[in-house]
């Protein structure tokens, strides 16, 4: 039986759901992060995802919380993957070749970065196209 990978890519929606207690997926996000911590998962994200979450906190909650979020992310063990020029080109290629319009550029870039570091799963509360075999992380709770 194959051992499940302990690498998970984090989307901005799971950061938002974890911090925002009024979010519909707040309980689920809390359970996810608790599980990641207990099982010592390797979590990955990228600066664009953080920026997206930062903007959401800044506009919908408070600027001070947005600042706290960035401060905490600088100290956190969430691994940030910085995109290179080739990643941006690959993401562009992916959205051009992808048939439907569901795939946005940030999602394509996220899939490319996850693929580069060999991350097979993504934790997200939004629709994610299965690009490069990226699967949605699911925790039955």
């Amino acid at each position: 039986m194959p051992v499940p990978s302990k690498k998970v890519y984090l989307d901005s929606s799971c950061f938002i759901a974890f911090v925002d207690r009024a979010h519909i997926k707040y309980d689920q996000a809390t359970a996810y992060f608790r599980y990641f911590a207990l099982e010592e998962y390797q979590l990955f994200s990228d600066p664009f995802t953080l920026l997206e979450a930062y903007n959401k906190f800044y506009n919908d909650i408070s600027p001070s919380l947005a600042k706290d979020f960035m401060r905490v992310m600088a100290l956190s063990n969430v691994n940030l993957i910085y995109p290179e020029e080739t990643d941006c080109k690959n993401a562009l290629k992916a959205i051009v070749t992808f048939k439907t319009t569901d795939l946005t550029y940030p999602k394509a870039l996220l899939s490319v970065l996850a693929n580069r570091r060999g991350v097979p799963q993504i934790c997200s509360f939004e629709y994610m196209p299965a690009l490069f075999g990226l699967q949605l992380f699911y925790l039955p709770i």
Partner: protein, 94 residues
């Protein structure tokens, strides 16, 4: 008592030259013991030495080896967990 291997057997298991095994022992990377005058290596020590290896370098486009940082694991002490439920968004407009 653990199984004991001599230098040649350990070299065969690790698929390296016997002199490499002697060097590992000399450098203190591989634990060994002396039985009389002969070097012997415990099976347990050999297994410990022969653990998983993840390269911390990769080749970039120009063929140069660049160091990559090993991925850190998330834990219960992570500062991000302190942000749990810190805010509540209020949508004033639809």
């Amino acid at each position: 008592m653990d199984n004991l291997f001599n230098v040649n057997q350990a070299a065969f298991i690790l698929k390296v030259h016997p002199l490499t095994i002697r060097r590992y022992i000399k450098e203190g990377r591989l634990k060994a013991l002396k039985v009389g005058g002969a070097i012997r290596i415990k099976e347990k020590d050999l297994q410990e030495f022969n653990k998983d290896y993840t390269p911390n370098t990769k080749t970039n486009e120009s063929g140069l080896r660049v160091k990559i940082n090993p991925a850190k694991s998330f834990s219960m002490e992570d500062p991000f967990l302190r942000l749990n439920g810190r805010g509540a968004s209020i949508k004033l407009s639809s």
